[in-house]
Amino acid sequence: MVDVLQALVQRPNFVVFVILFLWGVYIMAAHPNLVKKLIGLYIVQTSAIFFLVAFSAKDGATVPIIFTDSATVDAAVYANPLPHVLTVTAIVVQVATLGVSLALVSAIYRKFGSLDEDEVLERVE
């Protein structure tokens, strides 16, 4: 028990990630409003991005541009660029998904005049 608590306290980033993730999934599953479902999805996606950023954070590191001409490069001085690149790409993907999803939501609203999932499904069937 103490071990688990200690592990949690030492990793606040990951606790936040888990909370965000579960929160988003809960909103997606529980809210009948389609736009709120999208917000839930957005929180889930943000939690994944938060996870990528959290593990790549490095104290006292600088941008990964090599300043010296010497052959030996001290890797500890530089931040790892790769997770950040992944993050940027993931955000782009997220934006594209959001665009398509909003288009679909507005198509649904124009057709059914409602954003409530239960009402919409009732009218579909």
């Binding site: 999934v25 997606m28 389609l34 479902k37 999208l38 999805l41 889930v44 996606q45 994944a48 996870f51 990528l52 593990f55 790769l82 997770p83 992944l86 790409t89 993931a90 993907v93 594209a96 998904t97 398509v100 999803s101 288009a103 679909l104 939501v105 198509a107 649904i108 057709k111 059914f112 919409v120 499904l121 579909v124």
Partner: protein
Amino acid sequence: MSSNLPILLFFVPFVTAVALPILTAKRRSWCAPLAIGAVSLMIVLSIANLRLVMSQGSIEYALGGWAVPLGIAWLDDPLAAVMVLAVSAVSLLSLIYGRAVAAARFDNSMPYYTLVLLLIAGLVGIVFAADLFNVFVFLEVSAISAYALVGAAGGSAAVYAFRYLLLGSLGATLYLLGVGHLYVATGTLNMADLATRIPELITSTAIVAGFIYIFLGLSIKMALIPLHGWLPDAYASAPRAVTPLLASTVTKVALVAWVRIEYSLIAPGVEVGHVPVLVLLEELGVIAALVGGSLALIQTDLKRMFAYGGIGHVGLILIGVSLGNPTGFAGGVFYLVNDAVMQLSLFMIAGAVAHYYGARTLDELRSLRQRSPWLTGALVVVAVGMVGLPPTGGFFGKWNIVLGALEAEHYLAAFAVVASTLLTLAYFVRILTNWFHQPAMPDAAPVELARPVYVSLGIVSVAMIVLGLLSDSIFEFLLRTGGGI
């Protein structure tokens, strides 16, 4: 030139997709010829690529000349070469077919052709990518086009497309989390690099969690039971012109991504906490095959029945590739290619029946009295293929999966393949008894199918048999996919 074939295969549909809105702004009638031309060019390139891989073996392609592990790698191996050819051929047929049955507003519609080309580009990317993050990006490129295509009909289709989008994006996020976990544990995203580092770390929590996330994410994308919820409604309500393409490629290519990950990263016989990983995957496949087949049997809507049939077949393929021996692997992958062709045929038939007879359910099929001989022929051929009788490819795929299961002494898997065959037979008997329920009207002329429809139905039916006849050489070729087993 020849060494750049993988990237060319990606750029042909991608560049055409991007250029299409500009080129056709004033000449709407150029849309279809341009798109069909691009996909035909892809077929030529993928045949050249297949010949190249046949003669030289797998080729590792470093994007932009940056060597692995710094750069992004694409792998052009037998699996990729076969899949790319299958994807291009399936796309060409469904584009030609789509023109004939599409609603009037799809005719020369720039968004439709752009989305289809983007979808194809994404699929080609997934097939070639040998880098976990690259797979994520291409999964999303193809998925976003697929959401839009499903929702294109508006109305109830938009509702189901929205549901597909929610689940699909959740799947993609899970996949991304898994990639993050594997990266934290190993420091690389390249599959070949991961393959050398993972065996010693396989019991680490981060790796196991990463694999679970990746598998969950891809399971949503490939509609593995019980994560298949989005598929039947989405396919049943999507426009007739796009369902064949979506059904035959999107889930299958997600499965290809998983096959690649499983095949190169999970060695046969690996156990995590006394759970043999491959056997677990195989059992999931058994569940999917049996439940999918049973659900197909109780459907009354033709498209939904075919959709559940496809879901069951995903299980069969997963069984094949998870057996841990070359026979099962070749059988599974071969069946995957076959299944793409069969799903194309099934949904083309369902679309044509809806288009020409207005029939969607089995009950409506009962009252048909003018049956088109082309549709009857295609339906019988695809029934033979789905049930798995020689000489269609379906038989040889299933036969090898069963042989592989017996070789690995996994009798449950062998039983599941046979049982799912019987379930498939059962639902095709249901379809065919309804199809032939009424005696044909003797003097009425049958409904004339448009030429593109019967030509593409004919080609697909012939392709199923040709795949069966060539099965031996395809097996041998697929087994040259380098890696774990």
